[in-house]
Symmetry: D2
């Protein structure tokens, strides 16, 4: 018999029932993996139209120790929390139905990330359930913890946006940057799992290996989320690189007033010192001196760091996450823990591998 | 503050103190990672001559949440169990010293794997402490559990040998193969972490990426361990391939008497049905149909499977492990759990990632 | 203006007109690349139903210096030689049509590799044009040069078969192995381009990176070609590994009579000493001591080597090719050069890159 | 016998004798590969202190068809052109000696890239032969062709600088950017061969695979060369990514005056339309829509492209090269062709591979 879930259940805590709608893709699989190892969660149901009837383990090897099977995404079971890992545009059409079976809904698509219908229309197509936009809460506890407590509808952020926001938030929070007066250039590099399991020509191994491939020179939709939380638009460009898990954002900012390294440390520590899932990495010794995806792969950690370049009066900010974890499923479970009043780090304690990059 | 260890400690269980000698390499780092998350273990000391004084986290990112520092490998502290992750030839010279400070010693080198001095001399150079060879126990619980219980000196097996033995053991145990009368050809593919952190010209990224590089066409030292446990020599060839973690063995065997698929399932289930760290993967649907390192990366699992080829009266056996885990540190911790009477799967519950291969 | 074709045309040589049917996939692209740089060839037409109208360079970057465009595969132009890079089963249905427009046809599929209809039916489905099987010539000049001279219909071999045959042929040719009495085990590792441009779930970058994935434990169709040329069946197993270009075959053979290294060198030199596209690599110094795909990537070379293992009376033979070149398009152009009486190495002189593995 | 050099020698052209000092590293090997296939060049000597006596082919597989051997770097032979592929700081100490044996010297290190001793001291340590700085010519013909004709001492540019300069040069040449008044942010991603063959801990395969690793957040020495040719300093940050060959620069610029796409096309075509080694890639269809290293790997091409982002009044410029070719050895041979009055593209016609990334 294969290895089962991570033990450590606190026998006295309540057990939350959860379901995953759209469980056969990478994001769904990551949610299942985390929920299966969560001490307070019991997975009720996993749906997938394409794989209905198949064992979850036949698609997601980490779940081979369970006997979960995919079911059709109709007649959803009643649960405490429902996680939707469906493509953009699906949740907004089923949100009423979700709330009929669940008290809390965590959606990992872009459907409920933005605050107003006007914003949504500017970046996406028409919204089918705009009345939910106002109450939906963005899933990043580091910037939205208060609102997440007790929230009903939670929207997981985009991975590129998450990496960017984590890196820049302290600069805005502490007034080092004040808004659109200063330039903010963000250059993002992201892994192949971000494109999902379906793939396509450009995602095939022969075409996707060894790339530095620009794919969104301008106008990337994640700019909307970034703008929403930082209060300014950024110059944002994305590249696909050869890694499976990871989103790395290098931000080049030019503050209007001079700033010292002390100011920067104060801002970053002020925001993140007590955060369980943010770790500073700025200089130091060894191979992993600055934030990089390899150092956090498989974990719910975001690594953040910076360098000050006097000659240009430039601050270079680095931030790195695992796009599947803090950029997606890990963020969703973290937010759910906050919303449901559970231990915030429950089910998310994995510290990563070294060396990593596997097999 | 970064993520700490996996909680879930059973407050009533004893706490075992442990040390790691030679903690700065990959194997040492993997041991530290596992021990830091082990509910019954407290790490007393981590030594490294080359990195003495540096924080363990500066070398091993998963340990960045701890404040462990490397110390000089002299004046070792007294502990319940000492793990030696030093190069071949070092432990044998320090084994008396190790037993002065520890009740149990787990050595991950080849120094104590073989049973007799004659065997050792045949494959390696002269042994410095041959008196320990007889009582040392090979660390693979699936084939040596009884002897490991209460053992003082444990020798972790080689990763290629481990993968091979796991795949073939049931065939010998159930009489499907009887010995040297039948040919056994083993073709192994292994990842780059097997070469350690030091590297060298052939291990540099430009030279090691994308390879299928034979490096031990014949006469590989792991043959000694395989011969010791299976009772026959095998035709064994190793190749370096492009992965970081993983050891995969494809064994081609030609039994003297006909065998059916039912016979094979009986043999494999007979040996492994109740083993927490062996999982069968033989056919089925999806992407991961046969054993492969990617399905077990980061876990202590070994995947085993087979196909029967009537035309050649050949059985093809596949086995895959993570060379850092079941091929090394995971095996060591598993064996220590058995020897010390702890929960056998303690600290080893991680089920892996999907997709994996990171970042 | 970008770089054009490789100059060096001999102004006095004839110019052969060529077309490529099915030019949008990897094999078609490789043929186009080689033909564009061939001093004696002028490309008349490139067809592709899916990309008709698009520039060839928009699909195949090496052709960005040309103004070739894909056309519909109907109304084929008359040419001296037509190369078919279509999927298995297509050429056999169009072969009469091909011979209406071309004097020489080189087919890269499996349709005409086998000699008899009975053989074809054993391994594939029904053949639509069995009358062509007898006159079709297998494209590997190293074993079939005499028959290729002046041949009308040429069948490019499978890449795994090519690597295997190259490695073992001298042993049979020189009587070191005599036939099915002796065991021949062949363990193959192949790159992702072998799966073509279309890909699929298992070929996506997240799922295909870092693998050692058995995909044809037994019953691989290339066994038919191997059996045809070596006169014996082999125990053959294939694995997908993480490389884009490459096919590597490790053959384990157990000759009935003892053999010495001198015997082996004599056999291999006897067969390959004067072959422009086979290079021996057996031991020596440096990083590239034995045959490996990385040493021949992008070239039309096959590297072959061996080791003798007295303990098992085993010969381990290694052979490595670039599956896109000597395993496919390079082999086709080489065969066409022979058939058409051109300089045998024309258009195939590229010596490879170091380091390779790109970008 | 294996494949030899690319034929196509023009029997009437002069033959230039060339030597390579420091021929055992990656850059040296790349030079040898190009020179071996150059129709007008005969390699006289290849030196390497570490590999003296060994065959060049044992280190560089592409040279396995030749019988060149490394010799000690003393008593250099007289040649027409000497290529120095030695580490930074070596050529400056031997430059007089080089000019005693060669009429033309092409140095691939940083020793002679800058124009004045003051500049050199600002970015590097003290210069041993500053009197040569003024006459040395930067090797990039696209920006320095006139000065290269007949030059005696040529300095190959740094790969990151080359990629950056190629991308931005037209904007300055055509007055779209005028100088330091406008921000220029350059975010570079580079492959592992850039670190050379020696490697080190961070370059080992387990540590270097799958990275997005900042390694020069600020103060990168290549800024000096960029500043020298563009007339302005740039905000420059480098990252190591998982590829072997390649340097990709994404430049974010904010011109003082509005600019249209037409203005940009005019500038880029104006500079590059007739350049044999620069190719535009800006939008279009297929997988390779923008410049990327994978599209030019193994070639001497630089790909350049751009997008205009009205919202930020930002121009995003992409440029990609193979760091070993246009960023190093290819650039050197191209410059030597110009200096020596040879056909400019001689020996540099390779159009690349698709798919690429090998093996």
């Amino acid at each position: 018999m294969a290895v089962g879930t991570e033990t450590g259940a606190d026998a006295n805590a309540e057990t939350i029932t959860a379901s995953v709608v759209g469980g056969s893709g990478f994001t769904g699989g990551e949610l299942l993996r985390l929920l299966a190892g969560h001490p307070n969660v019991e997975i009720s149901e996993v749906t997938s139209r394409s794989k209905a009837g198949k064992s979850v383990g036949s698609v997601h090897p980490p779940l081979r120790g369970s006997d979960l099977r995919f079911t059709e995404p109709d007649d959803l079971e009643s649960v405490d929390v429902l996680f939707a890992a469906t493509p953009h545009g699906v949740s907004m059409g089923r949100i009423d139905e979700f709330f009929e079976v669940a008290d809390t809904v965590v959606d990992l698509s872009a459907d409920f990330r933005l605050e107003t219908e006007a914003q949504y229309d500017e970046w996406y197509d028409g919204h089918e359930a705009p009345e939910y936009l106002e109450t939906a809460e963005y899933a990043l506890p580091e910037i939205n913890r208060e609102n997440l407590a007790g929230a009903d509808l939670i929207a997981g952020g985009g991975c590129n946006a998450t990496a960017t926001i984590l890196g820049l938030y302290p600069l805005f929070e502490h007034g080092i940057l004040e808004g659109s007066a200063e330039r903010v250039v963000v250059d993002v590099k992201v892994g192949s799992s971000e494109g999902g399991a379906g793939g396509g020509e450009a995602s095939s191994h022969p075409e996707r290996s060894g790339v530095v491939r620009p794919y969104a020179p301008t106008g990337h939709r994640h700019e909307a989320e970034i703008e929403q939380f930082l209060g300014t638009s950024v110059a944002f460009t994305c590249h696909a690189v050869d890694m499976i898990r990871g989103a790395s954002a290098t931000s080049h900012v030019f503050p209007a007033s001079p700033v010292s390294k002390g100011d920067l440390w104060q801002a970053y520590r002020g925001c993140y010192e007590d955060e369980p899932f943010v770790r500073m990495a700025a200089g130091g010794s060894g191979v992993y001196r600055y934030p990089e995806p390899k150092a956090v792969a498989g974990t719910n950690l975001g690594e953040v760091g910076f360098e000050l370049d006097p000659s240009n009066e430039r601050i270079v900010v680095f931030s790195a996450i695992d796009n599947m974890m803090k950029g997606s499923a890990g963020q969703a479970v973290h937010a759910a823990n906050v919303a449901l009043g559970l231990e915030e780090t429950a089910g998310l304690e994995f510290t990563g591998l070294h060396p990593v990059g596997a097999p």
